[in-house]
């Protein structure tokens, strides 16, 4: 196994790629649709171009970036690129305690660097119009409803990880593709509800970027994207282990 430092760098780069391409797609969609007047506050611009197709496109940008990272970094660091996944694997004793903090810190740094890189490349429109792709509950979605939605979405993601990668009987080679497509599907459904983060690092990067660069301060929503994904992922790991355990 390569050193913890190298594995942490792999996590940093992987999370950078995830946030750069994923939230980048959300920012660009918002900027393209800026000219169209949103008919109501539930419509922030995403959806103006192609309805749910906008969310599918954003979801695929996330999903395909995740797939590429899993194939690229899977053997090096495990390519969690999501603190909820790291914590869930630790919770079922599949990941050592001493490595959790370095992995999570690396993921947060990677996500933050991606948000700043997007602001630098695209310009301040990425902050003022695109909000750096930050997630927030949509009109009419309450705090606990948003937590529940994030919990269910991340449950699905972690369930796929358990079934297609962690399970010893999982067919080799499919993990990246299936997990990427799972994220794309979850974003298509949950996008216009909570922004479909499923990943505390993915929300942390844009929130920090918006705060530093003068965008909207959304930190009051951050607990949604910590509690929901972690609870969902841990729950999925335990449920999968329980249901797949053979009784004698």
């Amino acid at each position: 196994m390569v050193s913890l430092m190298k594995r942490s760098v792999a996590e940093l780069i992987g999370t950078f790629i995830l946030v750069f391409f994923g939230t980048g797609a959300a920012i660009v969609t918002l900027m393209i649709s800026k000219g169209q007047t949103p008919p109501n506050s539930f419509n922030i611009g995403i959806g103006a171009l192609g309805g749910l197709g906008d969310w599918l496109a954003i979801g695929l940008a996330f999903g395909l970036a995740i797939a590429a990272c899993i194939y690229g970094f899977g053997k090096i660091s495990g390519c969690h690129i999501n603190p909820a996944v790291t914590i869930a694997l630790w919770s079922v004793k599949k990941f050592p305690s001493r490595d959790v903090a370095p992995y999570v810190v690396a993921q947060l740094i990677g996500a933050a660097l991606a948000s700043f890189a997007l602001a630098y490349i695209i310009g301040m429109g990425a902050v003022t119009t695109g909000g750096l792709g930050a997630t927030a509950p949509f009109e009419g979605i309450g705090y606990f409803q948003a937590i529940l939605a994030e919990t269910i979405g991340t449950f699905l993601l972690m369930l796929a990880i358990m079934g297609v990668a962690v399970d010893r009987e999982a067919p080799p080679g499919f993990a990246g593709l299936i997990i990427g497509l799972t994220v794309a599907g979850a974003i298509t459904t949950l996008g216009n509800i909570t922004g479909a983060s499923l990943n505390p690092a993915r929300t942390f990067g844009p929130y920090l970027g918006d705060l530093v660069l003068g965008g909207t301060n959304l930190w009051a929503n951050f607990p949604i994207y910590i509690i929901g994904p972690i609870v969902g992922a841990v729950l999925a790991a335990f449920v999968y282990n329980y249901l797949s355990e053979e009784t004698v």
């Binding site: 196994m1 899977g74 495990g78 990246g176």
Partner: protein
């Protein structure tokens, strides 16, 4: 079974091993024993080289071909 390479050289030597790739009988002098690294893990766990290696017996022809055809890097 006799050693194929010795037979090529006009000698008759009993084989003590068989090449795992082509099945050629090999005497002790012509058998090449290689240790193959074994790895465990991969997404979502970092891959880890395990202490044990897996031995394999090759003839000189297959050993050379495998060496030339081995993937670069890694």
């Amino acid at each position: 079974m006799k050693c194929y390479i010795c037979a090529e050289e006009g000698k008759s030597t009993d084989a003590v091993a068989i090449c795992i790739v082509c099945g050629m009988g090999l005497c002790m002098d012509h058998a090449i024993r290689q240790e193959t690294e074994l790895w465990t893990g991969g997404y979502p766990f970092p891959a880890e080289k395990i202490d044990e290696t897996m031995p394999r017996i090759l003839c000189k022809y297959c050993a050379m071909a495998l060496k030339k055809g081995a993937p670069k890097g890694g």
